[in-house]
């Protein structure tokens, strides 16, 4: 069993101005684990992708609530981004690089690909009509561990 060292939860309106707020908050929270600048950048980018997805896709025509939960373990962060919006019909398809339903908004379809590459693990759960939960985790302090060898 991994021990949870710390936990935070936040929720906010699905407004695009909150994308920066969400990623900066998670970055500030994970700083307790003393991550490298690269690790912080990866986490910020991934949180930004997940939150943007929720804002654009979960609530396309109305305001809703986006929830972010972050758990800190000894050497790992886990971030959950969830919504109670429209849900994803075909998760496999949505995770394909370059797949987008919002080409008219110039969305690149790279959101999930970036989360997959910048984090260690990514799980996407969704029920159409009920909502989506994205859970991603990343080991922290790999550089530090290397230095102690």
């Amino acid at each position: 069993m991994k021990n949870i060292k710390n936990e935070m939860k936040m929720e906010f309106a699905s407004k695009s101005a909150n994308e920066a707020f969400a990623r900066v908050s998670v970055a500030a929270f994970v700083s307790q684990l003393d991550p490298t600048i690269e690790e912080i950048a990866d986490i910020k980018t991934s949180v930004s992708e997940a939150v943007t997805n929720a804002i654009i896709h979960a609530y396309p025509n109305k305001d809703g609530v986006v929830k972010v939960r972050a758990l800190l373990y000894e050497d790992e962060i886990e971030v959950e981004v969830s919504d109670t919006g429209e849900g994803i019909e075909n998760i496999e398809e949505a995770r394909e690089p370059l797949y987008t339903t919002k080409g008219n908004l110039e969305r690149s379809g790279m959101g999930f690909t970036i989360m997959e590459n910048f984090m260690d693990e990514l799980k996407v759960e969704s029920i159409v009509g009920l909502g989506t939960k994205v859970t991603m985790s990343k080991k922290i302090n790999k550089a530090l561990q290397k230095n102690t060898y």
């Binding site: 994308e19 990623r23 980018t45 943007t52 910048f118």
Partner: protein, 110 residues
């Protein structure tokens, strides 16, 4: 975003000076398209020197401006792209068609 026109060279430089995400990219896109459409440059340069953060919205932003510039035969180039930003661009493969120049200075004569 600062915009610099070099009329004789038909060169247009966009100095982006904010984080690029879904929220900010729409404003950047509108401003860029307005300048590109009225100026019809031979070359468009996006300078990322002052960009501390970019997510995949930056990919869409650059692909869109590339298509627009390309539609009348212009070129598009990215300059001063940090490693952090380069990693995001690399995910999409657009660097195969859009060149990056480092250590670019636009303190051009004239």
């Amino acid at each position: 975003m600062n915009v610099k026109h070099f009329i004789e060279d038909k060169l247009l430089i966009f100095e982006v000076n904010e984080e690029i995400d879904h929220h900010t990219s729409e404003r950047i896109r509108k401003r860029a398209d307005y300048e590109i459409e009225r100026f019809m440059p031979k070359k468009v340069i996006f300078d990322f020197k002052k960009v501390n953060f970019m997510d995949s919205a930056g990919i869409g932003l650059i692909i869109g401006r590339y298509k627009l510039t390309n539609s009348f035969g212009g070129e598009l180039e990215l300059v001063n792209v940090s490693n952090k930003l380069r990693r995001v661009f690399e995910m999409s493969g657009i660097l195969k068609i859009i060149p990056i120049t480092q250590n670019f200075s636009n303190e051009k004569t004239g």
